[in-house]
Amino acid sequence: MICLRILGWAGMDQTLRQTTSRFGPWLTGGLWLMLVTGILMVIGEPVRELVTFSFWLKMFLVAVSTVVVTIFQSSLRKHEQRWEDTLVQRGSIKGLAIVTFLIWVCIIILGRLIAYDHIWGSWSPATKA
């Protein structure tokens, strides 16, 4: 929803600050929930999760996305007016919103591909095992 607001495709009756205030806590809560359930799944089947290319690429993208979102939220807090007035209309910021959305699409795909890691061929440690 935050990406859609930056792109101007939804929530245009709300300021960027209002949008992040509405969805930010749910975003953080969702990330914690995924962290806890993800750790439980890794503990349950460590070989299935850890010996896959998809899992490690997914973890890398989660880390990248978390850094991007943290920087965005910090910058919005410090330069709220500048974000509302000019930054949100910049093409580069809209591009970053699309990239962030696509990173999450890739995270979902990679999460599913953990069960099909053989499609990576020789890149998959599971194939070598």
Partner: protein, 200 residues
């Protein structure tokens, strides 16, 4: 044409065979299905939480619904398309699967639930559009909607755990030494299986 013949016809179609035989197609269609479902549930949850008075309580419901629901319907079309493509690859097994039937039943009930909203609280939106929450009927619809969509996600996951060969494989014969598996030495006296990786 009876239902079993129709299911066999779908499974035998060129499209179903192409998806089944491809290394990439099924996982990609399944991933797209999950993305669509995440968007459907996420956007519906935003609406339901507004109806319940838990979040977005300052926004006009009508404005918010018209802003968000187009994304919900787009994502729903994506899940329906990808779901149908997955279904035809193994139609008979899915059709007879308990969790698949429960998922379809819950989907139908969410449709009825939505219709109930339109006939009750949906008719008086102008009266509570700016109120922090919907009237009682709207709240009931929202709570039911959230519960049913969580159920749909759970059923969807359980389909994956109950329709693979790996999931129904017979237990290993008595006397199987599991240390052989851990040491990576094949047990050629029986007990090892060469089932494909489970789809789950």
């Amino acid at each position: 044409m009876d239902i079993d013949a129709l299911l066999k016809f779908l499974e035998a179609s060129g499209l179903a065979a192409r998806i089944r035989d491809s290394v990439f197609l099924f996982p990609m269609i399944e991933s797209t299905h999950v993305i669509g479902l995440a968007l459907v549930f996420g956007t519906i949850a935003v609406i339901d939480l507004r109806l319940l008075g838990i979040a977005s309580t300052q926004r006009s419901f009508h404005r918010m619904a018209s802003d968000i629901l187009k994304w919900t319907w787009g994502a729903f079309a994506l899940t329906a398309l990808t779901g149908s493509l997955m279904f035809i690859t193994n139609a008979t097994v899915y059709y007879h699967n308990f969790f698949f039937r429960m998922k379809m039943l819950l989907l139908a009930l969410t449709g009825i639930n939505m219709l109930f909203f339109e006939l009750t609280a949906g008719r008086t939106i102008h009266g509570w559009d700016r109120a922090p929450s919907a009237p009682r009927a709207g709240k009931a619809v929202a709570a039911l909607s959230l519960a049913m969509w969580i159920g749909i996600i759970c059923m969807g996951r359980l389909i994956g755990f109950t329709t693979t060969r790996a999931a129904v494989a017979a237990p290993p014969p008595a006397g199987t030494n599991f240390d052989d598996f851990l040491q990576g030495t094949p047990n050629d006296t029986g007990g090892t299986q060469t089932t494909p990786p489970p789809r789950r």
